[in-house]
Amino acid sequence: MHQFTIKPLVPLHLGGFDVSFTNQSLLMVIVVLAASLFLTLAVKPNRLVPTRGQSMAEMSYEFVANMIHSSTGEDGLKFFPFVFTLFIFVLLANFFGMVPGSFTITSQIAVTFALASLVILAVIVTGFMKHGIGFLKLFVPHAPLPLLFLLVPIEVISFLTRPISLSVRLFANMLAGHTMLAVFGGFVVALGAAGGVLSVMAVAPMMLIVAIMLLELLVAFLQAYVFAILTCIYLNEALHLHDHH
């Protein structure tokens, strides 16, 4: 489990809290700087034919813009900076974590839960700002009255578990992927050290690692996408309650 261990690099205390600059903080800084520099420097507004880098930046921009537009409609686009930041942050955190020897920011429940809470906070604030107390109608689906006694608690519970499901989904995926890689890596070492025929058999888990690595790259993108699209869906509910646009 050492790949999930947070190691302080620069000890730092603030108001009684240990806010040391750790290997995770370092990866956060790298991710954020890489994203900022790439998305800013790769793009020149007057370039008619985009370079490869600009194409990627524009593609990620339009990908998120289309995601928001298709799930929340026109008025959801004011959340673009927020959803774009979430998507880019989670995506790059997942991808940078794939580099051997680095650290996966999103394999920490504290980080994913903080991000998920931020999303739910945004949903609640948006909902009450847009609908006032009427936002609570979110918990009352269109159903006959007797059923509501059952459905309202279900709706409330499902709303309350959202930050948990949102954060645990990302955290568990990252954790499981990296653990699996570590386990198969352990097999390779153990078999290789065993000598004889067993050493030759070490190739099998090695090939499996390559396959899992590819799968993890997919998962890294997919989880960032899932996180962003669920954010959009929750924001859509806050904006439009149950009336499907």
Binding site: H2, A35, L48, F89
Partner: protein, 178 residues
Amino acid sequence: MAEGAHTETTGVPAEHEAAGFPPFDTTTFPSQLFWLAITFAFLFTVLWKVAGPKINLAITNRRGTINGAIAEAGKARADAEAAQAAYETALAGARSRGNALAEETRQKLNAEIAKAKSDADAQAAQAMSAAEARIGQTRESAKAHVKTAARDAAIAIVERLTGDKVSAEDASAALGKN
């Protein structure tokens, strides 16, 4: 493992960390949240204020240029189509004018030919009637010559047979009886 190093900096008892699974180690939470807040806020600000508008501008610029080019191409196409239509109109006009001219020329030539033909016919008819008159005249004079020759021959025969000298008038009268 970094437990030892961590313990030194945090002062949290080692057993607390060693017991746990790293992601559930609450002693690291303040640091995680602190740096997450800083880095996430930084990225949010950059994407919101700099990168987002820049990328958006690039996309809008390109879309504008492309739409402008498409509109321009559409205009050029409309121009070309108008030019072709004008060309076809001019061509059709020229063709009909040419046909009219050809028709006119043909009719003029036909008229000229007909006139020349009728002139020639008239000339020929005139020449023919003149020739017929001349033939008639010649025939008359030849007839006259024959009469004179017959009278002279009759006078000579009578003179030889009878020795009488018959006058020309008598001979003509005698010949005229027959």
